[in-house]
């Protein structure tokens, strides 16, 4: 799963939902651990795989306004530790 969340908090929430289950216990994935591999689209190890022309066209604007490092670290934290 590739996320395009704009903040670290929303990234963590989405990542936790598709790995350990909805942490708010409000939706249909409450208590259901899908354990899907989840990454943020701007994480370096993912971003570097994209064709440069496509990445430049699609991601240049978001990369100017979003903190890719923080977003990647938030999702990576959930992927590796669940929190």
């Amino acid at each position: 799963m590739l996320l395009g969340t704009p903040t670290p908090d929303s990234g963590k929430l989405y990542a936790q939902t598709v790995t350990e289950g909805d942490p708010t216990w409000a939706g249909p994935l409450a208590g259901l651990a899908l354990r899907l591999p989840v990454y943020h689209v701007l994480e370096a190890e993912i971003r570097e795989q994209f064709a440069s022309e496509i990445a430049e066209e699609q991601l240049a604007m978001p990369e100017m306004v979003l903190d890719a490092r923080e977003l990647g670290e938030a999702v990576k934290s959930v992927r590796e530790t669940g929190t």
């Binding site: 799963m1 996320l3 395009g4 903040t7 990454y39 689209v41 994209f50 064709a51 699609q58 991601l59």
Partner: protein
């Protein structure tokens, strides 16, 4: 994670990176996009 040959769910956000952008990038890396959505996290 190598995206080549993988199936991807592209879950974008209105205020972040939209689903179609994620999908285009994933396809450029050789992935197959099985679901593409753009949500609004409020």
């Amino acid at each position: 994670m190598n995206l080549q040959g993988k199936r991807v769910i592209a879950l974008g956000e209105r205020d972040g990176v939209p689903g179609p952008a994620i999908a285009a990038c994933a396809r450029s890396a050789g992935a197959s996009v099985v679901l593409e959505m753009t949500h609004c996290f409020v």
